[in-house]
Structures are given as structure tokens and as C-alpha cells.
Amino acid sequence: MKAACALTEYCFAPELPCHMGCDDHTKCQYWKAGSGADGPPPDASAESTSQMHGHQPFWTGRVMGLVDALPVVARNPAMLVGILGAHDAGKTSFLLGLYCLIVGGKTLGGFRFAGSYSLLAWEQLASYARYSASHPASFPPHTPDSTERVPGLLHLALRGPTGRLHDILFADAPGEWFTNWSVKADHPRAAGARWVADHADGFLLFGDSASLSGPERGTAAGNLIQLMQRVSGVLGSRPLGFLWAKSDVTIKDEIRSRVDSVRQLVHSSSFVRSVSVRDPVKHSAILDSVEHLVKLILVGNASSQIPVPSPIFPQDGFFSLRGSA
């Protein structure tokens, strides 16, 4: 009989690591019990020559990379949301605002919080925005540029109105990646931006109202338009939401309409929202933009399913049997 751990159904050593966290599974007391004759599991006083560190969950709670996102996507096809925009456009603040609203019990229309395997990361993000005796709240610091080729992924699970569980992965990347990419599609420091563009199921593109109304607004508008052009080349039929970030700041009409004209030209089926963390009236738009994007992604997924033709044989149903000949 093949040796197996006494914790049947839970421990699959040696194919997988010891479920109890033993460095060497053969020294684990549950392995010893299982590989012997049938019998009850050993009691706690049985000697174990291996330290049982305990079971660690498959997620760290931190921002995920591709490898730690695997178990999440294994349970359910996850939606990847690409968050696009220049440096300091307000992308991370948007995510912070989203999480703080959810922590406060807000729902995204018919979608309700059902968990996250990045709670540690979300909490760290939110900690910037929480008031305490020792420090005032602030916006999160700049997401640092890095030579990583894949952005960190933040996970959010939502229970939808039909009862279905949706796993969403937000790709929060440094703005420099997108600025580089908008200048040169195969820029060596834009691998991460290309990764997002290739793999995302939907996008949220941020226009920074503050930089679009400040002294550098000319450059900011030009850069944004350039990024929009670059995105349009890869968008395909995927949904895109254009978000006026920091919309508590007013943009001059001419600049706003220039940007919006380009949007209508190159992202004709995109939707638009004005969001702001500072202006509570614009908070619901944060929730709504994510809800709307999720719905569009779901619709897109449904319609992209290819119907499989099946012949009908009215004379004998047996002819319709689909099996190997």
C-alpha cells in the first residue's frame, strides 16, 4: 500500500508540502501514523521529531505577483483591471478611496465585498488615509518605479447579484511605465505597461485634473492624449472607463473638450466618470466606475463565447451522441 499521510483529504505529501508545515514530512507524526497500519491519528503526546510550523495559507495578503495569483485564478477566471495613467494621476488614491469606501460598508451596486487575498496590502494602503492621534491622514506616496515586468496585483472578491463570485485583480503600476510606453511602444522600461495592455480584461484610464489645470497643463494634456492614442491601438473590444481624477479641481473648458474629443475618437465606446477623494459628492462615482467596468467585462465575456453547433437527427437521438467514433 502506498504510504500516505493520516490526514487524508488534507495532506498530499510528498507531492505537496506537509500540511502541518513540517520541513521533512517523513518525520511528521501524521505521516508516521498514516504510512503504518490503519489506526487513529496519534495523540499530542506522541513524539515528533519534526517541528510542525503550522499551516500557512496560500496567500500572503500582500500585493500579488503572477505566481501567488495562481491559486486565485485557479478557482475562478479572474478579471484583470488595468489602471492606466501618468505618474501622480491619482491611480493609487483611487484604489485607496475604493477600499476605504468598501471598509465603510459601501457596495458597488449589486456587488458586495466577499473577501480579498490582499487584505494586508489594502490595509497598508488605507493606513495612510486613517486618522489617528499620532498622525494626520495623507495620500499614499508615489508607487515607485521599478524594473519589474509585471505590476503588483490587488485582489478583491465580490458577490454579484446572481450569487456568483467574481474575483477581480487590480493592476496598480507606476505611472512612468505608461508614460514610457506612450512614447515608444517597445520602450525597454515599459514591459510592465505592455503586460497590462496585453492581459487586462478592462481598463480605467485616469486624467489628472490637477495637472490638466496647473502651469504644466499643456504638457499634461499632450501626454494624456498620447497615452490615449497608444491605448487605442491595443484596446480591441475591451471596455474602458475614462476617469477625471481629482475632479474637485476645475479644468479649463478648452482643455477638457480637447481631451474628450480625442476620447470620443479613439475610445468611442468608453464611459466617463468624475471621481475625487477630496469631494464626498464624487465618492459614489468611484464605486460606480468599478461596478460599471465589471458589468461591461462580464457582458463582453458572455458574448465572446462561441456557440458549438450540434446537429439534430430527428429519426434517432442516438445519432446525436457526441463521442469518439
Binding site: Y10, R112, Y128, R159
Partner: protein
Amino acid sequence: MSETSTPILLLGKADSGKTHFSVVLIEKLKEGLSSLHLAVAPEDLTVFEEPRKAVQQGRLAPHTKTDAHGEASLPLRTAEGREVRLILPDYSGEDLKKLVSDRQVSERWLLGVRSASQWVIMIRPHLIEKNADIMTQLRNEFAPVSRDQLAPNKWNEGAWWTELLQMLLEVAGVSLMERVARPRLVILLSCWDELSFDEQNMKPRALLAERAPLFADFIDSNWEKEACQVWGVSSLGRTLSMQDSDEDYVNKGPASQGYSIQPNGKKGGLDGPILWILDEAS
């Protein structure tokens, strides 16, 4: 007639009232103040002996020591004559906090999680820090802060419970793809008597949604309606001190003074949530 054993996974942080709940419940059973009866005297109540003596003298029980894990096995007979065995654990709340901070489910917890299909969570609403962030309260002072200036991470209460349950569900092999029917979940909002008048008039689920909204959403999203209930409890019925005896409490005795608040808001006996658990555990 064979006996079904109902181990309860009791989850609560330090000061949440786990020990007092068990101690007072056992006193109720002993004094016959429940529709549940002790079929015979429980074999071993050592784990609750010290707390019991304190409470009967009108004082708060001392904190359960860290690393102290024990349980009392209660042989009960329900009003319908069914024989059940209720297993009440006791441990230090610090041990539970370590589970999330160390991100490790030790063998004891692992086995406890797997053997219990009824999970009871004790949360003391009065101790939950109110959530104040820039989305809930806009203030004008915004100072750019570097990462190293940040205060050490303090979990939002709702997020902490969500993470703990996620870890325990994973260990128990429970998938969230469909809504959960097993394990069943009972949330006890403890020390109900210390809440404000307005709060005491709320239904327990509504109070949970107000104090720990993220966690309330997590359980609403993931559990079947019939598999999850939120109750209020006050094991002592009043505030006791660890040093001074409350003479009035001593005279009346613990068994008659605790109460529970049912999900519909009505007041009932402290054994209410246990009756619900045992009713469905058959």
C-alpha cells in the same frame, strides 16, 4: 441512544467575553435555568474553575493565560430528549491574534477547525475603534507622508475578522464559490449591557453592520441566510470589577442574570444561541 458530539469553534479576542459566556452558561445548566439539562455532572470542569469562583463572588474572571488551551465537555439533554455533548473551549485571545499576525494555523487550531461545524464568533462592539479616514471624514490637513513615517499597521476590525475567517475556511477546505452552508456561523456581540441606549435598541445584525461593516458584508456575501445568525449577549448583565465584589450580583447569582438578544431584537436567555446551534446540529 447514541450521543452526538458538538464541538464548537469559539473565536474571540482578549476581553471579548468568551470565558464569562461559558462560565455563566454552565451555571445556568447546573441550576436548571435552561430548557437544556445536564444529563449527568460534567466529568471535568477544571478549565473553568478559577473563572467560576470569581464570577460567583461577583468579580470579573482573570484573563485566560496565553498558551492555556482547555475545554469542558458537557453532556446535555435537549427538551426533546435528544442527548448531545457540547464542547466548550477556553484559550487566551492573544493566541487568536497571533494566528493572523503570524499567518500560521497551528495544529491545535487546524484540528479544532476541522472537527467543528458550528463556529461561534464573539465580538465586543464597544471596543471596536470607529473607522475614521479621509473618505468618512474630510479634514483639511493633508501632509505628504513617506512610507517610513507611517504608524505601525493596525487592522480595521472588520478586515481582521475577514482575514481570520478566510484563513480558517481555507484550512477547513471550504470553498467560497458557492455560499457556505457548513460551517454554520453564530456571531455573538458581547457585553451588550455596556452599549448605549440607542445601540441596545438595534437588531444585532444592524449593529454589526454599523461597527464592522466590512465583516458584515463578508458574511452576508458568503453564508447562506439560514446558516448564519447574529445575536447579542450579556453574560453578566452588568459591569463587574476584577477587584471589588458586587454584593447584589453575588446574592442573585450568575445563572439568572445573563441574557441574549435574538436576531429579531427580542431579549431571551443566555442559552438562546446555544439552543439554535444544537437544534440544527442534529
